[in-house]
Every structure is written in C-alpha cells, then in structure tokens.
C-alpha cells in the first residue's frame, strides 16, 4: 500500500517540476555552457590558440580532467577526442 507520505512527496515533486523544471533545465544548460567556455580558456593551446597563462594553470589541470571527461561525454563522444589529452 502506498503511504500517505510518499503520495505527498510525489505531489510535491510534481508541482516542483511543473513550476521550476523549465528554469532548472535552462540553468543547467547555462552552467554547461559556462563550463565549456572555462575549459576552452584553459585548454586554448590544444586547439592552437596561444594562452599566456598556461604555466599558472598547471596546478588546476588535475581538477579539470574530470570536467573534461564530462564534457566529451556530453558532446556524445565515448572517448577523448584529443590525442594530446587522453583522459580515457
């Protein structure tokens, strides 16, 4: 038997989705776009643009590796498209 609590939480989720769903989707997309921009700024040299700050970014690269992985998955690429950046 379905409990009252679970019915209540389902109703809450329904209204939450109805009210905020569109916004959240929008925000998620915006965050993803900003993420891409940031990755591009950090990895400019890989696409052939000179980056004056390369050396100052070395210590943040490991943090970005994970993001890079998320990026190429999101772009529909199973494996890393860049030979110079073999993340998987």
């Amino acid at each position: 038997m379905i409990g009252v609590v679970s019915i209540r939480s389902n109703i809450r989720d329904f209204f939450h989705g109805a009210a905020y769903g569109a916004y959240e989707r929008e925000l998620r997309m915006q965050a993803a776009e900003l993420n891409d921009l940031f990755l591009l700024l950090c990895y400019m040299e890989i696409v052939g643009l000179p980056n004056p700050a390369t050396l100052y970014l070395l210590d943040v690269y490991p943090y970005l590796l994970e993001q890079f992985h998320t990026w190429h998955k999101r772009m529909g690429m199973e494996r890393s498209p860049l030979g110079t950046l073999p993340c998987c």
Partner: protein
Amino acid sequence: MRNMLEKKVLFFGGKGGVGKTTCASATALAASHAGKRVLLVSTDPAHSTSDIFEREIGPEPVELLPNLWGLEIDGALESQRYVANVKEQIKGLFGHHILKEANKQIDLAASMPGAEEMALFDRIGGLIRGEDTRFDLIVFDTAPTGHTLRLLRMPELMEAWIRALSRSRQAMLGIEQDDKTDPVLISLTDRLEGLREFRARLLSPRVSAFMLVLVAERLPIEETARAIEQLNDAGVTVGGLVVNRILPASSPDPFLQSRHTQEVVYLDEIDRRFAKHSRVRVPQLASDVHGVKTLEALSEILIPHAQPSRP
C-alpha cells in the same frame, strides 16, 4: 643618481652592447658600499655578470662581496623547477590515475613555446614582491630593451587574463555550487593576488625605477626615446639616463677628434631631448671593465661617495 639607492628595485636596460651589465654591477657595488644588502640579478639569457665578477654565478643567490649577492636566472631551468614544484604540490591531492594523466598534461604544457619566458617572469615577480627578505635592493641587469619592456607589460596582461578566467569560473559556480571551496577558483585568486602585488610594486615610484643606459650615438638615442615612451605607457618610473663611454675631449689624434666633434652634437641632443630626466655621464675608461677593481672606479663615477663617511 644617489637617490636611486633608496629604491627597492632597479632595472638597467638599453640597446645591446651599451654597457648595461657594467652599469648595473657598478650601481649594485655602490649600493653595497652604502650599507645596503644588494642582489644583482641577470635576466639576459646571455649572462655576463659572472664575467664581470670573474666567478661562477648560478640560479641561486651567491655572495660575491660583503653585502653583494649575484643571481643569474635561466628560463629553461626555471620552467623545469616550476613544473617539478607543481607536480609535488598535487601529489597528495589526487588518485594515481588522475595524477598520471595530469602529469602528462603538465609536461606537455610546459614544453609549449612561451613557457620559459613565463617561468622567468614568475621568478622575477617573486623577487620583486620581496619573497627573499635577505635583500634591501634588487638590481636587474636586463636583456636588451624590447624583450624587457615586454616582460614589464606581462603582469598587466596576465592579471587581465587570470581575472577573466576567475570571472568565468565564478559565473559557472554561481549556478552549480558554493565558490568558497572550489580549488580551481582558490588557485586563480591566489595568482591574481600575487600579480596585483607584483604590478603595484613595479609601478610604485618609491619602490621601482628603470635606468636607461645609452652611448652618444644615433641609434641608442632613438631607442632610448622609444623606451621612455613605452615605460611611460606602462606606468614604470624612469629613474634616469646613464650616458656611457664618453670620449676624452682633448686628444691630438685626428680620428678621436672627429669622433669627439660628432659626439658633442649627440650629447647636446641628449641633453635637449631628455631634459626631464636626470642624466649622468660616464667617460670612456682607459681599459674595459672586468674584475672588482675597475668596477670600483666606475661605481665612484656613477654614484660618488656611496661609502658612508665614518663618524
């Protein structure tokens, strides 16, 4: 010229071969006589301070004379050192797999063109920020003008760049999560702080000044005029001009006489065009400068009575 010794950072620049290294070394020597603890830094890839002091100078400060240290910065070495340092830093923070990939990536990035220049810049920045508290005054013997001016513009450029990066990161985090704990943003903010301090000290007239060395000839005069313009643009204080290697006026030799007549014209031009800046004239010495003895003579001409008179 004497008040130059009150600064914390002095640059010596000018066209190749006008005597930057000798003037920088002589000034450093004079300052050390005046009781300052001085570090003489060569940033020119073709180091010659070690030739002047007739001894090996390396990538770490070595004591040359009482109160006087020498340092020759090597871009390739600095970049290796920088990379090793970063690898050490991230060692404990990540798992084996990420580290392996990250190290690969770091090596790649460090081999990009410009990495050496950037590492050189980072080391100079550290020195100017006063990381090494042993010294009262740092004298830079720089590479010929163009290269150095670019280096002086770099804090500005880098600051703008890193600021843009951290803004972009912040905007992203603003949507996703708390930005106080983001290690990427923390690292970027640290860099930004360092660059700001570097630039503030570089542009402060109390802290830093740029000395231009030239000889009384056409090309060096023009280059000096351009350098002053660019330094003004960058906001770096011009400390003064050193007019080097002036020929003796009285000579029976017709060749020297003709050189001298030409020189007088150029000296007038220098006085006219650079009237705003303090100038010091240094005569052509009877022998070239190497070794501490000849350097003493030159430092006495550049900054007279640097030795504090004993009570």
